[in-house]
């Protein structure tokens, strides 16, 4: 491979992981917009979705049905966490909610080996499509097509939800002006439960989609969750298209940095990007400026 082909190869594989980061990022965006909370267990929800799908398929359930069921179950976990622990801690403030969602991520990661052990699982979700694609000398596994298609479908569904459905309208209303939304009869509590359920569903989708590429195991959640957050922060934390932009940028950046500079330090790239974004441009690439209120 010459340098140009290498560059293309890294960019394409970065693009694939990038759209997966984008789905995780969407989970943060939906919750943050409405509740102002950053959900530290987002990555573990992805792990849960992936491993549930693996188990269901191992019991002979059809792939699509298994994935849908896993998404629904994970959404219920998100909603349950919100109802049981986030809501009663309403007055605990940011520090309290950081600790609660962090604690949940440790609980989910700690309990997962009881059911799935510590081994890695394959997920043959996509039908075998034969040989990898060859684009200008760069090799692209056929799964990439599926991953892109699913991402586009998820984004489209989200857009339809946000712009064409009543709960979506309520979501946008709460995000743009929580008080006014409340005066219009939108219950903040219901919205909070709803967005946690939605973030659970999005997390599960991300986990299911990433598994054919990277395998699924109980400890896959932490890195995926943190990188998803980096993508969300890069995109501005409040916009759906920002999440996509942030995810793709991070994925490509990471692949290029890991491939061309140093593989071992690949994981640190996302963290450096995060610190730079938070410090230099905390409103992200697409977001509006967040001003402090006294």
């Amino acid at each position: 491979m010459n340098q140009g082909q290498q560059f293309l190869q890294y960019t394409l594989s970065g693009l694939t992981t990038g759209v997966i980061y984008a789905i995780v990022a969407l989970g943060y965006v939906t919750v943050f917009n409405v509740t102002g909370v950053i959900n530290f267990m987002q990555g573990e929800l992805a792990m849960l979705g992936a491993l549930l799908t693996v188990s269901l398929m191992a019991w002979g359930v059809n792939g699509v049905v298994a994935a849908l069921a896993a998404v629904i179950v994970t959404a219920c976990v998100g909603a349950a966490v919100e109802t049981v622990t986030i809501r009663p801690a309403g007055k605990a403030g940011a520090h309290g909610l950081i600790l609660i969602t962090l604690a949940w991520s440790l609980i989910i990661r700690g309990l997962a080996p009881l059911f799935w052990g510590t081994r890695s699982y394959k997920l043959a979700l996509f039908p075998d499509l034969g040989e990898a694609l060859n684009i200008g000398g760069a090799v692209l596994p056929r799964e990439t097509g599926w991953i892109l298609a699913i991402t586009v479908a998820v984004m489209a569904l989200l857009m339809i939800f946000f712009y064409r459905s009543f709960p979506g309208l309520a979501w946008r209303a709460s995000a743009s002006n929580a008080l006014a939304a409340r005066l219009m009869g939108i219950k903040p509590r219901t919205m909070s439960t709803l967005v946690f359920a939605l973030s659970g569903a999005l997390g599960a989708v991300a986990g299911i989609v990433v598994t054919p590429l990277t395998l699924a195991s109980f400890d896959m959640g932490f890195a995926l969750g943190l990188k998803g957050f980096v993508a969300a922060a890069l995109g501005g934390l409040t916009r759906v298209h920002g999440a996509l932009l942030g995810g793709v940028l991070l994925g490509v950046f990471e692949a290029l940095g890991g491939g061309l500079v140093a593989t071992g330090y690949k994981n640190a790239i996302a963290y450096v990007v995060l610190i730079l974004v938070l410090l230099v441009k905390p409103e992200g690439l697409t977001g509006r400026k967040i001003r402090d209120k006294v």
Partner: protein, 328 residues
């Protein structure tokens, strides 16, 4: 109790406790001494956590990163450059202070979730560097043969001698923290907690005090890490991962972020229950590993945040207070 008697007891209590602990050093078994040594080492880091979280109101999810910087600085200084351990420990504290000053002014502009994520990322970056910079740090396999601590002619190479050293050191640091919080600095931090804008309007250097708390907490974490390195005589990156940062947070929340004895109490409760759970839980969940202990502590953490957000000490105090009022 006669008025004033309680105050006198309160003043005498720490001295009595310290005397009892020093006397206990002669009779405690080796495993008990070992456990207390770890408790004291972690109390030092958790003291810093209390200063930062409880008094300055800033969260850090990267505190284990500073412990790592402390541990690796003294290890590299003593094993690769042949410095005496005391110099290594002092160098470790200086390294943490320099790093915290450099990072503090930038990172502490962030608040709440964003500060948490930035410090989490800092801790992870330190973790990755320790694992990848194999020439300097030994990489994932860690560093061995760290000399035990010695000051002048005094050797602290046994459980008992290290016990005396670390118990006295921890007591002194607790005294330092108490005095610091009763000084101008303590009042300034209190004002910042009550309202940053209000504090600024009476010309309190809000950023300066936040950075001070951040630096002190980093130095304490670094000292704790350095003592750990000389005590255990082996370190690896795994010992300073994100889970350790969360463990420190759990310890401070169990005790109380806003109390002098809170950190020590939190660490004691944490280590004693961890010791017990590590024997007990595998019997109930044979297929699960050590992470069941963290599941247990995570549940405790959630309960604390919901029901006793200021920690267990004030919650117990409130309960007793209510009961006392009812009795009257």
């Amino acid at each position: 109790m006669a008025p004033g008697a309680w105050k006198r007891t309160e003043r005498a209590l720490p001295l009595v406790l310290l005397a009892a602990m020093l006397a206990g050093g002669a009779v405690l078994s080796r495993s008990q001494l070992n456990l207390i040594n770890f408790i004291a080492i972690f109390t030092i880091a958790v003291l810093g956590m209390g200063l930062l979280l409880g008094y300055a109101g800033q969260i850090s999810l990267g505190q284990a990163g500073f412990m790592a910087v402390g541990a690796y600085t003294t290890t590299i200084a003593t094993t690769k450059f042949g410095l005496p351990p005391v110099a290594g420990v002092l160098l470790a504290m200086v390294a943490c202070a320099v790093l915290a000053v450099a990072l503090g002014r930038v990172v502490l502009r962030l608040k709440g979730y964003f500060l948490a994520l930035a410090t989490l990322a800092l801790g992870e970056i330190i973790f990755v560097v320790l694992r990848e910079w194999v020439d300097l740090t030994g990489g994932p396999s860690g560093m061995y043969n760290i000399p035990s601590l010695s000051i002048g002619g005094l050797q602290f190479d046994s459980y008992r001698s290290f016990y005396y050293l670390v118990v006295i050191l921890t007591a002194l640091l607790m005294l330092f923290q108490r005095n610091l919080l009763r000084s101008r600095t303590g009042r300034a931090l209190q004002a910042i907690q009550d309202g940053e804008v209000a504090a600024e309007s009476v010309s309190i250097d809000v950023m300066g005090y936040k950075v001070l708390a951040f630096v002190l907490s980093a130095v304490l974490a670094g000292l704790s890490g350095a003592l750990y390195a000389h005590y255990v005589q082996f370190i690896s990156p795994e010992g300073f991962g994100m889970v350790v940062s969360i463990e420190l947070l759990i310890m401070i929340m169990i005790g109380s972020p806003r109390s002098i004895y809170g950190p020590a109490l939190g660490v004691i409760v944490f280590f004693l229950s961890k010791d017990y759970l590590e024997h007990f839980l595998p019997k109930v969940f044979p297929q699960a590993g050590s992470q069941m202990v963290m599941v247990f502590f995570s549940i405790i953490l959630i309960l604390i945040v919901i029901f006793a957000p200021h920690g267990i000490i004030p919650a117990v105090g409130d309960l007793l207070g209510q009961r006392r009022k009812k009795a009257v």
